[in-house]
């Protein structure tokens, strides 16, 4: 039996040690997933704990019908999305523009390697933010969390083909938005 499922079943029957083990196996991935989703380092551990808290509270009703990680990332996606929506609802339009606005002029940034290093994560975040939600999540799951297309399909509740399409379309848009940062970043037609 899959080790995560075994641990979750033990947690279901009251073994908190098994739940600790489950967290140790996954918290790093969840924290980083939320961090990249929200681009806020400070909140990501709290939100990751919220994810595990939700799982812990519903452990009694757990049914091992799917891979644990797909369940985990589905909840992590919901928690992140709720957080981002709540946060944006509390921001003024100016603040939203400042935080998630246009990708800055990379030609200038690239000129200074130090700034490039410092800012690249914000540039990537903004480029990812500009993608449709499903493309962003599909890329984050497949690229950063190492989920297979099949697992990402379960998280997104769509077909494997749809995940491939999301990744492909998202990647094309990222190429367009991050082009000046790419080696030989010239134009290409379609």
């Amino acid at each position: 039996m899959d080790i995560d499922i075994e641990l979750m079943l033990r947690a279901k029957s009251g073994d908190d040690g098994a739940f600790s083990e489950l967290m140790r196996r996954h918290y790093r991935g969840v924290v980083n997933y939320i961090y990249r989703y929200t681009n806020v380092k400070e909140n990501s551990e709290d939100l990751a704990q919220e994810v595990f808290l939700r799982i812990y509270r519903s452990r009694k009703s757990y049914r091992p019908e799917a891979k644990f990680s797909t369940w985990l990332y589905k909840i992590a996606t919901n928690v992140s999305l709720t957080h981002v929506k709540k946060k944006n609802a509390n921001l003024s339009l100016d603040e939203i523009y400042d935080e998630g606005g246009e990708v800055g002029d990379p030609e200038i940034d690239v000129a200074d390697d130090l700034i490039y290093r410092k800012e690249i994560k914000d540039v990537i975040f903004q480029a990812m933010e500009s993608l449709p939600e499903r493309e962003k999540v599909a890329i984050m799951l497949c690229k950063y969390e190492g989920l297979s297309y099949e697992e990402a399909a379960r998280v997104l509740e769509c077909t494997v083909g749809a995940v491939k399409t999301h990744v492909h379309r998202g990647r094309m848009k990222l190429i367009d938005r991050l082009k000046p940062y790419l080696p030989g970043g010239g134009e290409y037609g379609m």
């Binding site: 790093r28 704990q49 799917a66 919901n78 499903r134 492909h168």
Partner: protein
Amino acid sequence: MECRDCRELIISFSSGDLPSSGRESIEAHIGECPECGLYMSQSAGVWNLLDEWREIEPRGDFVSSFWDRVSREEREPAWGVLPRLRKLGLSWTLAGALASVLIVGIFTFALFKPDSGFMTYADNDARDEQILLELDNATTRETTDALSIYGPWENSVQIMKINGYGDMN
């Protein structure tokens, strides 16, 4: 092969997911189409560029602070109606059913109470009714939230639709 088809297959090509016939037609197309060749190198380049966004190192005490949080939340007094219901160990279905019965009860009582006529909306009744309606709404909401994490996922289609994952275009 059309450029559009070629680009759709380039990810599978790069990750070695294509059968040899597919690989050959892509290689042939790229050999004579510099634009798709550039796209292929940029596609790989953007994937590598994403690695520049480095992972963060979470605190080492994640697990122990999780358990602190659990015991802290268990110690907190249950002020609201919903936490009280939780403490009573009522299932959400039962709580919902109880709320509905209470609402029906209040209406029935208001209608048939001697000397009240149809004064259903006397101040007290209206207030009670409002409280119960709110409880009922909250229960429905909480039930939806709870079901969404009982996985895998009785009402997930609805939830994913809310989040915009349910359909693709």
